[in-house]
């Protein structure tokens, strides 16, 4: 338990994909900064000051999220997810997949190869869809951050709505792949 199921070697190529958007981000930032600086120096300084202020304000919430992520990923390793999803019928599978997807946070380069493994183990698209969609939309670990901006009540509302959307998406996926009879 606790080991990553995704082979390390294949990560290399995948890491690079992740880096493309990072390069894009830094490229965009550099261009924006240069243009802004040429156009108006004081405005640019003000922008950086705003950024710094906003960043330091939300930093404690980010620290909370990081601690939560590491604890949850420690308690729910990939092998556990594969084990539980592989052993259940589709109804239980969808419920369990939504549960795992809601409480965890994974970068794409771990989540999707994991889904590839699930698929090879014969787990249905319906269950995988419930897992990926809740993973993306429902954020238990991002709660501290979301709460700081939206308040607790609206955060809960948004996440519950997202959970329902994810369940509908899972059912529709099942219908389109012929796993659930319409």
């Amino acid at each position: 338990m606790g080991k990553r199921l995704v082979p390390v070697r294949s990560k290399e190529g995948i890491y690079r994909r992740g880096k493309i958007s990072m390069y894009f981000l830094y490229l965009l930032l550099s261009i924006a900064l240069v243009i802004s600086f040429i156009a108006d120096r004081t405005k640019t300084y003000r922008a950086i000051k705003i950024a710094f202020k906003k960043f330091t304000k939300i930093l404690p919430a980010f620290a909370e999220m990081l601690v939560l992520v590491s604890i949850i990923l420690g308690l729910v390793p990939d092998s556990l997810i594969v084990h539980y999803l592989g052993k259940s019928n589709m109804f239980q599978g969808v419920l369990m997949a939504s549960f795992f997807g809601s409480i965890t946070l994974m970068p794409g380069f771990i989540a999707f190869p994991l889904c590839g493994i699930l698929l090879k183990k014969g787990i249905t698209y319906t269950v995988i869809s419930a897992f990926t969609t809740t993973l993306m939309m429902v954020g238990f670990v991002t709660f501290p951050i979301e709460k700081s901006y939206f308040g607790g009540k609206v955060t809960v509302m948004r996440n519950v709505l997202s959970l329902f959307i994810a369940l509908i998406v899972a059912v529709m996926t099942g219908i389109f792949f012929g796993e659930i009879l319409p």
Binding site: L25, L29, G139, Y149, L161
Partner: protein, 177 residues
């Protein structure tokens, strides 16, 4: 007020216990604890790479983009066009939900409609372009197309309803407090 203070103390105690647990895990070679530390390190580094540029871009956005521009394209009169704009903006968002929240606040300050903002948040979770390409390479293009074409209409409709409901109640997004 008192419960807030109590929560603060509980968090501080939890944080100390967490740190001690990680240190103990390394001293005793406790594998699950070590894995936690590695995950913490990985995600912290990732945040350290994404957040500073993201926040500077947010700062530049606040300084340069005019309120009228955002009101026109994402405001309450923008209708469905605003929601589609929100999805397109989300498609280029790096990171995920945690970057979308501060962006959402800035959009809100500049006069974006609440419904459009909720669409933007949900879309930045499900419609990021690099992520979707990556997903399709593991689960097939059919899977991604079904997922997007079912979820996007649901996201728009539910965001419109949630936005309307909250606007009526005079709800306001806060600046990360």
């Amino acid at each position: 007020m008192k419960s807030k203070k109590l929560l603060k103390y509980a968090k501080a105690v939890g944080f100390v216990a967490y740190t001690l647990f990680l240190v103990f895990s390394f001293l005793k070679g406790f594998e699950p604890g070590k894995k936690m530390a590695f995950d913490l390190r990985y995600f912290s580094l990732e945040m350290a790479k994404i957040l500073p540029p993201a926040f500077i871009l947010i700062g530049l956005f606040e300084v340069w983009v005019k309120k009228e521009t955002i009101e026109k394209h994402f405001g309450s009169k923008s209708g469905l066009r605003g929601h589609i704009g929100g999805i397109l903006l989300a498609g280029t968002t790096v990171g995920g939900l945690y970057v979308a929240f501060p962006v959402a606040y800035s959009l809100y300050r500049k006069g974006a409609d609440l419904g459009v903002i909720f669409t933007y948040i949900a879309a930045s979770a499900i419609c990021r372009v690099p992520m979707t390409i990556f997903e399709a390479s593991f689960l097939g293009i059919k899977f991604s197309i079904i997922r997007l074409s079912v979820s996007i209409p649901l996201v728009i409709v539910s965001s419109m309803l949630l936005g309307k409901y909250l606007t009526r109640r005079g709800y306001a997004i806060r600046d990360g407090e």
